[in-house]
C-alpha cells in the first residue's frame, strides 16, 4: 500500500486521544465548584467531560499501540493544544450565557485560557451573567496550560517516557529543555511540583491576607482563582477590574509571584532542593531580574513625575511614591513575562510610560518558565552575539564563541534563535497588517493604530491586554469574527513557539 502521508498520523492522533482522555479529568474541578455553589451548570461540565473523554477514546482507536517518532511530536503537540482549546470551549457554548456562547468567542476564550494569554471576549465579567463554576473553569484552563498539558502527561503517564522529551521540547517555552534527572518523567514531575508548590503558597498567602482582614474581597474563591492564573502568567480574573479590585497589599504580594512565574522553573527546583546560589549564577535570571528592576524604577520615575496622572479608581498617582512604585512595578512585572494582570487602567498613562510597557511586551519570560513571548534567553544570546559582531568588526581575526552560563553555544543554536526572533517579529507585523485590513471593513469599530499593534503582540506573545479598545479594562469582543480567528491562531502558535505549528502547514512535513 502506498502511503499518501509520510507522517504516521494514526499514531499521532491516537496519542492526542490519550492526552485528551487524560485531560478530561480536569473537568472534575469545575464540577466540584458547581456542587459547592448549589449545582449551577453542573450538567454542563459532566457533559463536557464525557464528550472530551469519548472523543479521546475514539481517537485512540486509530492505532491502539502508537509509536510516534520525532516528526509526529509536532503533530501531537499542536493538535493536543488545538483540541484542548476546542473541548475547553464546550462549557462556554453549553451554558449559553453572555457573549462567549458564540462558538468562535468560546474558542477564543478557551484558547486564550490554555495558552495563558488572558485576552478576553467576555462582555460582562461578573457572576450576574456567568456561574462560579464557569468562571473557575476559565481560570483553571490557564493553570493547566501554564506548565503545559504535555509536561503534566509526561509526569504522570508512564507510556510517555519514550518520546516524552521530544514532545516536551515542542511544548516548553524556550529553545530546548534541560533534563534534571535521567528519566524525563521525573524531570516533568519536578517542574510540576515546583509549579504546584508556588501556586499553593500564593493561594495560602492570599487567603491569609483575607483572614487577617487586609483583603476583604479576597475570599477562598478569589484566592484560588488568582492562584490559578498568576503562576501560569495567565492574566484572567473573575473580577472585571482585574487586580485593581483588591487592596494594595494584595497587589504587592502578587508582584513577586508574577516575577517567579517568569523564571525558569528548573532554577526554582535547584533553590528548593538546597542550592539557592544556582539561581544567582544563571545568566538569564540575572538579566531578567536586572531588566525588571531597572524598568520598574524607570516606570516609577515616569509615573511619579507625571503630575496629571490620576483616575477615579486610583486617585492621584503623580507625586505619590507608593502608588507610582506599585503601579509601575506591577505592570512591568505583569507585561514583561506576559501575565497580563492590571492593577489599574494603564491606558491612562502618559506616552513615555506606555512606550515602556509596549517595549517590555517584546521581552517575554525566561526559557523554561510559564511566560510567553520571545523570551529573555533569546534576547540575551542576541545581545551577546551582536556584541561579538561589533568586536569582530574591529578585530576581524578574532575567534569568539558566544558563552551562556560559562558554556559555549553552538553557532547553529544561535542561528536558530535569530530565525525564531525574526519570524516572531514578521508574524507580529503581519498580524498588525491583517488586523488593520480586517477591522477597516467594519464601520462601527475603529481602533487606533496603537491598539492594533498591541492586539497583535498581546495575542502572539500570549500577554492578553494591550492599549485602547484592547486595554486592561476593555476586551477583544468588538473585533470581527475573522480577526478573532486570526488571533486564535496567533495565540496557538505563540504558545507553542511557532515552529511546531508552522511545520504542519508545510507540504514537506506531510510528504517526504
Amino acid at each position: 500500500m502506498r502511503h499518501y502521508f509520510r507522517v504516521d498520523w494514526r499514531a499521532g492522533l491516537s496519542l492526542v486521544g490519550t492526552l485528551l482522555t487524560f485531560l478530561s479529568l480536569a473537568f472534575v474541578v469545575p464540577i466540584v465548584v458547581a456542587l459547592g455553589y448549589g449545582g449551577e451548570d453542573l450538567w454542563v461540565f459532566v457533559v463536557s467531560m464525557v464528550l472530551t473523554a469519548g472523543f479521546g477514546i475514539s481517537l485512540r482507536r486509530f492505532d491502539p499501540n502508537p509509536t510516534p517518532g520525532a516528526r509526529e511530536a509536532f503533530f501531537v503537540v499542536a493538535f493536543t493544544w488545538l483540541f484542548a482549546a476546542v473541548f475547553g470551549a464546550v462549557p462556554y457554548i453549553l451554558t449559553g450565557n453572555g457573549t462567549i456562547a458564540h462558538p468562535v468567542n468560546a474558542l477564543f476564550e478557551s484558547m486564550s485560557g490554555f495558552t495563558t494569554t488572558g485576552a478576553t471576549v467576555m462582555g460582562d465579567i461578573s457572576f450576574d451573567t456567568h456561574s462560579r463554576a464557569i468562571m473557575m473553569w476559565r481560570q483553571l484552563t490557564q493553570w493547566l496550560g501554564g506548565m503545559g498539558i504535555i509536561v503534566l502527561a509526561v509526569a504522570i503517564l508512564s507510556q510517555m517516557a519514550v518520546g516524552g522529551a521530544q514532545l516536551m521540547k515542542a511544548e516548553v517555552p524556550g529553545p530546548g529543555i534541560s533534563k534534571l534527572t535521567p528519566h524525563i518523567a521525573e524531570t516533568a514531575r519536578v517542574l510540576w511540583i515546583a509549579y504546584i508548590g508556588f501556586t499553593v503558597l500564593l493561594i495560602a498567602l492570599l487567603y491569609t491576607l483575607h483572614l487577617a482582614g487586609l483583603a476583604p474581597n479576597m475570599g477562598l474563591y478569589n484566592a484560588f482563582a488568582h492562584g490559578f492564573t498568576t503562576l501560569p502568567t495567565g492574566g484572567f480574573s473573575p473580577e472585571a477590574r482585574s487586580i485593581e479590585a483588591f487592596s494594595p497589599i494584595v497587589q504587592w504580594l502578587i508582584i513577586p509571584f508574577m516575577f517567579i512565574a517568569g523564571v525558569n522553573f528548573v532554577l526554582w527546583w535547584y533553590v528548593i532542593s538546597g542550592d539557592p546560589w544556582a539561581i544567582l549564577r544563571d545568566n538569564e535570571f540575572r538579566f531578567y531580574f536586572g531588566a525588571v528592576t531597572v524598568f520598574s524604577l524607570v516606570g516609577t520615575v515616569l509615573l511619579f513625575f507625571d503630575a496629571t496622572l490620576q483616575t477615579t479608581e486610583t486617585g492621584q498617582i503623580g507625586g505619590n511614591i507608593e502608588r507610582s512604585a506599585r503601579y509601575a512595578a506591577f505592570q512591568i512585572a505583569s507585561l514583561t513575562n506576559s501575565t497580563g494582570y492590571a492593577n489599574m487602567d494603564f491606558d491612562a498613562w502618559g506616552n513615555p510610560a506606555k512606550a515602556l510597557l509596549l517595549f517590555v511586551m517584546f521581552l517575554g519570560g525566561s526559557a523554561g518558565s510559564t511566560g510567553g513571548g520571545i523570551k529573555i534567553l533569546r534576547w540575551l544570546v542576541i545581545i551577546k552575539s551582536l556584541r561579538r559582531e561589533i568586536f569582530t568588526t574591529i578585530h576581524p581575526e578574532a575567534v569568539r564563541p558566544v558563552r551562556m552560563n560559562g558554556k559555549t553555544l553552538d553557532e547553529e543554536a544561535i542561528r536558530g534563535i535569530y530565525a525564531f526572533t525574526l519570524l516572531f517579529l514578521i508574524l507580529f507585523f503581519s498580524g498588525f497588517l491583517l488586523l488593520a485590513a480586517d477591522t477597516s471593513r467594519t464601520a462601527d469599530f475603529d481602533p487606533h493604530t496603537l491598539d492594533l499593534l498591541t492586539a497583535s503582540i498581546a495575542t502572539l506573545g500570549n500577554i492578553g491586554p494591550g492599549f485602547g479598545v484592547v486595554g486592561p479594562m476593555g476586551g477583544y469582543n468588538e473585533f470581527p469574527m475573522s480577526s478573532k480567528l486570526l488571533m486564535i491562531l496567533y495565540m496557538w502558535i505563540g504558545r507553542l513557539e511557532i515552529f511546531p505549528v508552522l511545520v504542519l502547514l508545510t507540504a514537506a512535513y506531510w510528504r517526504s
Partner: protein, 444 residues
C-alpha cells in the same frame, strides 16, 4: 541503579536504551550533537564532556553511581575512564576493549586498571561465531576468574579411560571437580558412587591446566574431524575464532593473504591449517575443496570484502556463511542478499554488557544443557551464609544441586575440599541447578 555510560557510539547507545527503562542512566559523550540527539531520543540524561576527566564524571554524579560502563571506541580511554572513576568512588566499572592483550594483562591481576569487568570485543565475537556456527560442541568450555578457572562439558566415548568408572575413581585429576553428569535428559548430581557411563555428558570445573589435561586424556579419539570449518581472514576476530574452534575440538582452516600474519597465527594455532592465499582466487578455492566446507566465516578487514567472500562461498555450494559486519546498517541488508548470519561485534558487546548488568552480583554465567544448569562466578561477601564454615558444613545450608567447583583467593586457585573454609572476598565458581539458582545466589 544509577548507571553512567561513557561513550555514546553504537555500543553506548544500545546499552543506554536497554538499561534506561529500569535504571537511571547518564550518558557522557564528547560530541555535542550526539548529546543533543540523545537527550530527545532516549530516556536518559546526556552530558557533554570528556569522560576521562574527573570534573565531567562528577557532573554526571559519579559519587552516587553504582555502575560505570566505559565503551568509547578507544581501549586506552576506556581503561583510563575506569581508573578515573576509582579515584572518586568504588562503583563497579566495566571497560570495553578491542585488544585481547589488554584483557590478558587485566586477567593477570584482579581489578587491574581499576576495571572490575572487562569485555573484549574480538574475543566475544569469536565466541559468538562459534556459538552460532551451530556445530555440536564436542566439548563446551567456559572460563572464569580471568581465565584461572575453566569449566567444560565432555561427552564420554565408549573407549574413554573413565567410562564405566564410579566418580570416586575417576576423580584422580589434580584441582579438578566433577560437577554433574547429564544422561539423556536427566541431570545426575555427582556423588562418589555414581558411575560414569558411555554417552554421558560430564561437567568438570578446575584450573585451566587440569581441564586441558583431562580433555586430552578422555577425548583422544573424539575429534570432530568430520566438520569442515573455513575461516577467511586472520584478523584478530578470525584468529580468535580459529582458537575458539580449536578449544572445542575442531580443526579449522584459516585463509590469510599476508605472509607474515599467516606465519604468526600458524605458530599460535597448532590444530589449525593456515593457508596463505587470496580467498577470492577461484582456482585456489577449488583446489582446496572449499566448496565442501560446512561453514565459511569471513572475517576480513572490510564489510564489502566479507560480503564478496560470503557470496562466492555461497555460489561454490557452501552450506552456511557467516560474516563479520562492522556497519550495523549493512548487517540486515547483507543477510537479505545471501549471507546466512551477519555478526556485528558492537552489537555483541552491548548485549554482553547488558546481560552482565542484569545478573546482579554474579560475575559470570555459563549456561549448560540449554539452561538446565548454570555455572556462576560469585564473590563471597561478609553477609554471605557460607562464610567462615567448612564447605561440608555450609553445603547443608544450601539446597541440593549445588557444587562448589573452584575458589580463587587473591588471584590464587584453591581447590575446594570438604574442609576448605570460604573467606570474604573469595571468588567462587559454583555449579547450580537452574531450579535453585535464585535461592543459591541469595545465600551466597
Amino acid at each position: 541503579m544509577r548507571v553512567i555510560v561513557v561513550g555514546a557510539g553504537e555500543v553506548g547507545q544500545s546499552i543506554a536504551s536497554n538499561l534506561a527503562p529500569s535504571n537511571d542512566v547518564i550518558v557522557i559523550d564528547r560530541d555535542d550533537r550526539v548529546v543533543e540527539e540523545l537527550t530527545y531520543s532516549h530516556d536518559v540524561l546526556a552530558i557533554h564532556g570528556d569522560g576521562t576527566t574527573i570534573e565531567t564524571l562528577r557532573e554526571a554524579g559519579v559519587e552516587r553511581a553504582d555502575l560505570v560502563i566505559a565503551c568509547t571506541d578507544s581501549d586506552e580511554s576506556n581503561v583510563v575512564i575506569c581508573g578515573s572513576v576509582k579515584t572518586a568512588t568504588d562503583a563497579f566499572t566495566i571497560a570495553r576493549v578491542r585488544r585481547r592483550t589488554l584483557l590478558e594483562t587485566w586477567e593477570g591481576s584482579q581489578g587491574g586498571f581499576g576495571v572490575d569487568f572487562m569485555v573484549c570485543t574480538d574475543l566475544l565475537t569469536a565466541q559468538t561465531i562459534f556459538r552460532i556456527s551451530g556445530l555440536p560442541a564436542a566439548q563446551d568450555v567456559d572460563t572464569f576468574i580471568g581465565g584461572l578457572v575453566r569449566t567444560a562439558e565432555f561427552e564420554i566415548a565408549t573407549d574413554s579411560p573413565i567410562a564405566n568408572q564410579p566418580v570416586r575413581e575417576a576423580d584422580r585429576y589434580d584441582s579438578l571437580t566433577f560437577a554433574a553428569i547429564f544422561r539423556d535428559d536427566d541431570m545426575i548430581v555427582v556423588t562418589g558412587e555414581a558411575v560414569i557411563q558411555p554417552g554421558d555428558r560430564v561437567v568438570v570445573i578446575g584450573s585451566a591446566d587440569s581441564v586441558t589435561t583431562f580433555a586430552d586424556d578422555i577425548t583422544r579419539n573424539n575429534r570432530a574431524d568430520s566438520d569442515e570449518i573455513v575461516i577467511v581472514g586472520a584478523s584478530e576476530i578470525g584468529y580468535q575464532a580459529a582458537r575458539e574452534f580449536e578449544n572445542h575440538g575442531y580443526r579449522p582452516r584459516l585463509i590469510e593473504q599476508d605472509h607474515d600474519r599467516a606465519r604468526e597465527v600458524a605458530e599460535e594455532l597448532p590444530h589449525t591449517t593456515v593457508l596463505k592465499s587470496d580467498a577470492t582466487d577461484i582456482e585456489f578455492l577449488g583446489r582446496e575443496h572449499i566448496d565442501e566446507a560446512d561453514i565459511v566465516i569471513s572475517s576480513l578487514g572490510s564489510d564489502e570484502k566479507n560480503l564478496l567472500v560470503s557470496l562466492l562461498a555461497r555460489r561454490l555450494g557452501v552450506d552456511r556463511t557467516v560474516a563479520i559486519i562492522e556497519n550495523l546498517e549493512y548487517a540486515e541488508l547483507f543477510e537479505t542478499v545471501g549471507i546466512d548470519v551477519a555478526i556485528n561485534p558492537r552489537e555483541e558487546t552491548s548485549e554482553e554488557i547488558v546481560r552482565f548488568t542484569r545478573t546482579n552480583r554474579t560475575e559470570k554465567v555459563a549456561m549448560l544443557e540449554h539452561d538446565r544448569a548454570e555455572v556462576i562466578e560469585i564473590e563471597a561477601t561478609l553477609d554471605s551464609d557460607i562464610i567462615g564454615q567448612q564447605i561440608q558444613d555450609s553445603m547443608d545450608a544450601l539446597p541440593d544441586g549445588v557444587i562448589i567447583g573452584a575458589i580463587s583467593r587473591g588471584g590464587e586457585l584453591v581447590t575446594p575440599r570438604g574442609t576448605t573454609v570460604i573467606k570474604p572476598g573469595d571468588h567462587i565458581v559454583v555449579f547450580v541447578d537452574s531450579e535453585v539458582l535464585d535461592e543459591v545466589v541469595e545465600a551466597i
